[in-house]
Amino acid sequence: MAKLSNKAPATKRTKNSAPTGNGARNGATDRSVAGKKLYAVRDAQGRFVDIQTYERAHIATANEIYRALRVKPETVKRVQQIIRDLEAKTGK
């Protein structure tokens, strides 16, 4: 998780990141200066409560699910390889 601070990080606003009107922004899609898609959660004053990249957030979600299933990382890697192989085969 990215370090939290009240100072706005270097992000670019996109069309979806319009303020809600009360200072807070809901579900805003920001992008970092490097172009990575970010999740940003702000409080009522518009301060950042949580900010992290989509990629890291998705990995965190997957890990929570795999922890609940007690799956080893090797299993996940093997399944990811199967998916990649099948996609390469079907050309999708």
Partner: protein
């Protein structure tokens, strides 16, 4: 800070028939549940350590907030496993922590005749079709926002079917009803849901 979900909130217990004819339906269930960010559980997951199947069943049921029961296998020889497990889930919903259960059937109105105690509860009628199972499960466990479209989930189901064939071949099994294959199918379903953008970290967005 976003609330981290407990595995209980997202765990769904699957009480389904373990026969070759139900394979595609189980894959459809896995595809639709993982698309909703849920974690499918099944009695296959727990290794047999000599404590018996009933204890394994109860342990799994207790750890899941939701259960799905398919009572479509009616015929000879009569199988009482699934109605029995539905009874356990009903008892859990009534006497223990919050638990919700959903019933699925193949033919309409048959449940009213076979299990009249459940009258007033509308089962999901799937006619044995994975497509109907997907749309039914997406309806039953609908989230407040960002629900996946059944068409997208059906595409994932088709990809998951291909993965199931590969896993069966790799493990030398004739069906998917084994511990390793079930768990790997859930992992594959979750991976597909994440790459399709169905599972998000912040569900309130």
């Amino acid at each position: 800070m976003a609330r981290r979900f407990r595995s209980d909130d997202k765990s769904v217990f699957l009480n389904v028939p373990f026969d070759a004819g139900y394979e595609r339906n189980l894959i459809a269930l896995i595809a639709s549940l993982t698309a909703l960010g849920q974690i499918p559980h099944c009695v296959l997951e727990l290794p047999e350590l000599g404590s018996g199947r009933l204890k394994r069943l109860l342990k799994h049921l207790r750890s899941c907030r939701t259960s799905i029961h398919d009572l479509s296998r009616v015929g000879v020889p009569v199988r009482f496993n699934m109605p029995f497990e539905l009874g356990l889930a009903c008892a859990q919903a009534e006497y223990r922590k919050p638990h919700s259960y959903f019933v699925m059937e193949k033919a309409p109105y048959r449940l009213d005749r076979n299990l009249s105690d459940l009258k007033g509860r509308d089962p999901l009628i799937h006619h044995g079709s994975p497509k109907r199972i997907i749309s039914g499960v997406l309806n039953m466990l609908r989230r407040k926002t960002r629900n996946p479209h059944p068409k997208e989930v059906f595409n994932n189901f088709k990809r998951l079917s291909g993965i199931a064939e590969k896993l069966k071949h790799d493990y030398g099994e004739s069906t998917i009803f084994s511990r390793a294959i079930f768990i790997e199918l859930v992992v594959a379903g979750t991976e597909l849901a994440i790459t399709s953008g169905h599972v998000k970290k912040y569900k309130n967005f």
